[in-house]
Amino acid sequence: MLIKRREFLKISSLATASLLMPNFLKAMTFEDSLEPNQKILVVLQFTGGNDGLNTIIPARNDIYFKERKNIAIKDSLPLNDETGINPALSYFKELHDNGELSILNNVGYPNPDKSHFRSMDIWHSASKSDEYLETGWLGRFLDEECYKCEHPTQALEVDDMLSLALKGENNKAFAFKDPKRLYQTSQEKYFKSLYDHHHDDETVSYLYQTLGSTINNAGYIFDKSKAKKTEHAYPNSQLGKDFKTVASLIKSDINTRVYYLSVGSFDTHVNQNERQQKLFGDINEAVKSFVTDMKNNGLFDDILLMTFSEFGRRVAENASNGTDHGTANQMFFISGGLKKKGLLNAHPDLTLLNEGDLLYSEDFRKVYATILKNWLKADSSKVLGWKNGVYDFI
């Protein structure tokens, strides 16, 4: 349940009786108070460093074709005179032409780190490149927005492990691959029986709270996921299944506002085009099903699907028909409610490189700030400490 502080104060006077209940039940009593027109964010992570130059393609740039004799994409689908999109992303081209896709080029951060793990860490925690944070940007969003929440279901990750992005100081999101399996595990009688006992000690009670919240939320998520089984067909890929899970939850009255998915691996040091095409094919089909489903249900204006990768790749191809780790990259934004559409800024300048790598021009933290402020209506400066403005495309 997402309750902002001021709303909590408003509600709590009416709900004094509930203060006698265990915390998790207390939160449940507000289940129906979700505001109408709540915006939903879906984050899709391209794990492994997707090659942005073969995604959004500088179709008329000689340097591009010279540096990529073997892997340059020659049959890109045109977005404008200069730029095309990888043909495996044909549905993205459609979204673009419909005004339902915006693309921000050249996103990165100062002093880029080319280790997958570290760079992903930086994107997840929204830290500077020489700073180490133990919380993620969406986790801190939960901390900020969620007063005394015992339900971390405002943010969900479709995975067996929770990503750093969704870990806050006081609140952590919930990760699961399959609502039913999660439910079955959590409902094991032994764990439930243990939980029913009362616990005082601080650390022990933290563990029991987490256990209780897991048992309780697993049931909540499972119920919601069953409530609105999606009629729409989804591809049989893992990503298709994951999007189907997300869609069924969005259509229910669950309180979730952030969904987190990932797909990969985009680490294409060898035979890049084959692998990238396969991954894009999966993404293309899954996103197509998801967007169509959302449109059919009149929800597309309130959904924002955002993609990112921990870095892009070097401009020049390597000797194995692949690419090595690079820096700046583009991000996609898909929604029925975009304020600015299409290519939001110029394609990277291939004449201005730093030892073979693109120079970033847009800081990813400004993107996060934009989403937090304009979409999720949160206090972006508290979550990020970012003070250098926001974009106006959402």
Binding site: T203, T210, D267
Partner: protein, 459 residues
């Protein structure tokens, strides 16, 4: 009533090691804590951790594979060698008699955190840390700072006269020695100049490259001179802040996350006066009466490695696919040799979210063959480089852990004992009725169920 000697001895064995081994349980309540401390610090002949997977073959030009194939082969061998190091380190924690050495090495492994792909570099720094774990912090700091793994990880290979790279100097001060607030940005710049030229050669030996070294005058931590890297480390060690920072971190890890300033100040002063004698510091801690205060017992959430090693010490087991254990490390968030960053692993509550807690509670059942492992770890691109054909293959083969536990031996040891007194640090909050109801009075099920409680997560 549980005898206080049993509570204290268990506490000591968890903090100065990885819990009581199955062999230690029998007489645990009768041993004098002083004898146990002496035992923990007893040193044997030092043995290095190694790997057996052979290094990659050197091909002659006729049969040389393509660069892509070569890269793939290299990657595979690196992964196997690193996995061996990981598992052999874990094995030391479980089976070595030198529990204090391995526990301390585990602490330093998180403190001097590096993350590189080269198994030779990993082996070298791991053994440097293990060898010096209870020695002198000065030696440890010097050897770690000159280890190719660290120089590589912190980019000091790129730290050259006229083009300084400050990463190494910054982390040495911020994370390894003094901590934030005790130096300036200028000290970092000047320190980086002192470390110019520190690097390693092709064979992975530390080298000072005179041509890359900035010989000019530096002003570093209020001293001025033509400092070298050695000078810089010595100046850092002269700072009392270094002793305070290290002692505080040790206190948080071994005693309590909530620091008692008075105690830490005394310990830190004495650590400084002893010229950074780690063994003495640790003996001081474990011999003091405050270490056994109720508030310091059972208040720490076990890290994933501590949880696993502890279970393995209590339950003698044969593991057919030891690689299996790496999957659990990944799923629980702590893979040896792969700390999240140079700041090492975060501690305490950060280990616990709904997914990791559920898995932790299920491990005893999974390892006993009562339920399958139903989770998949995320891919690690730094290790796999996108070369793994099917990311699910690994996890699939681990659904059945193929672990055989010697239950007969376990039952013999625990028969007639209050098992919770031995397995749980603080069982006051535990609902023993539930444990008993679900255990059919069998020793085996009681142990599995006790290990599946939130209380077992604490040490």
């Amino acid at each position: 009533m549980i005898p206080s000697s049993l509570i204290n001895n268990k506490h000591l064995l968890w903090r100065a090691g990885f819990g009581a081994g199955i062999n230690q349980l029998e007489g645990l309540k009768n041993i004098n804590v002083k004898d146990l401390i002496n035992d923990l610090f007893k040193e044997e002949t030092f043995t290095e951790i190694n790997y057996e997977t052979p290094d990659p073959e050197i091909h002659d030009s006729m049969t040389a594979p393509s660069p892509a194939e070569k890269k793939k082969e290299m990657q595979k061998i690196n992964r196997e060698q690193n996995e061996e190091l990981n598992l052999n380190f874990l094995d030391k924690m479980v089976n070595s008699k030198e529990q204090m050495r391995e526990k301390m090495a585990f602490f330093w492994h998180g403190h001097f955190a590096s993350r590189v792909q080269n198994p030779r570099f990993n082996r070298q720094i791991l053994n440097v840390i293990r060898k010096n774990a209870l020695g002198n912090f000065k030696d440890l700091l010097f050897e770690v700072s000159q280890a190719p793994a660290m120089l590589n990880f912190l980019n000091n290979q790129q730290n050259k006269k006229d083009h300084p790279n400050e990463n190494f100097a910054r982390e040495v001060m911020e994370l390894f020695t003094m901590g934030r607030g005790n130096y300036t940005e200028k000290d970092i710049r000047e320190g980086a100049r002192a470390f110019t030229g520190w690097g390693y050669d092709k064979e992975g030996n530390f080298v000072e490259r005179p041509k890359q070294h900035d010989e000019g005058t530096k002003t570093f931590l209020n001293k001025t001179g033509n400092f070298t890297g050695t000078d810089a480390l010595n100046i850092i060690l002269e700072q009392k802040a270094t002793s305070k920072f290290i002692t505080t971190k040790i206190y948080r890890f071994f005693v309590n996350e909530n620091v008692d300033d008075k105690i830490v100040n005394v310990l830190s002063e004495s650590f400084y006066q002893s010229n950074y004698d780690i063994k003495k510091l640790m003996k001081d801690i474990f011999s003091s009466s405050w270490f056994y205060d109720k508030k310091n017992i059972g208040n720490r959430i076990k890290s994933p490695i501590e949880l696993m090693a502890g279970m393995m010490r209590t339950l003698p087991m044969n593991i057919q696919n030891p690689e299996n254990l790496i999957v659990y490390q990944k799923l629980l968030g702590q893979t040896l040799l792969y700390p999240p960053n140079v700041a090492g692993w975060p501690n305490g509550k950060s280990w616990i979210d709904s997914s990791t807690l559920m898995l932790r509670l299920q491990i005893p059942q999974i390892w006993s063959g009562l339920r399958p492992l139903d989770y998949h770890p995320k891919e690690d691109d730094d290790v796999d480089m996108g070369l793994k054909k099917n990311p699910n293959n690994l996890a699939k083969s681990f659904k059945n852990p193929n672990i055989t536990i010697d239950w007969a031996r376990v039952e013999k040891i625990f028969n007639g004992k209050n098992i919770e007194d031995y397995l749980i640090q603080n069982s006051g909050s535990l609902d023993m009725d539930s444990v008993k109801n679900f255990s059919d009075r069998s020793v085996k099920m009681t142990i599995i169920n006790l290990m599946s409680t939130p209380e077992y997560q604490l040490m």
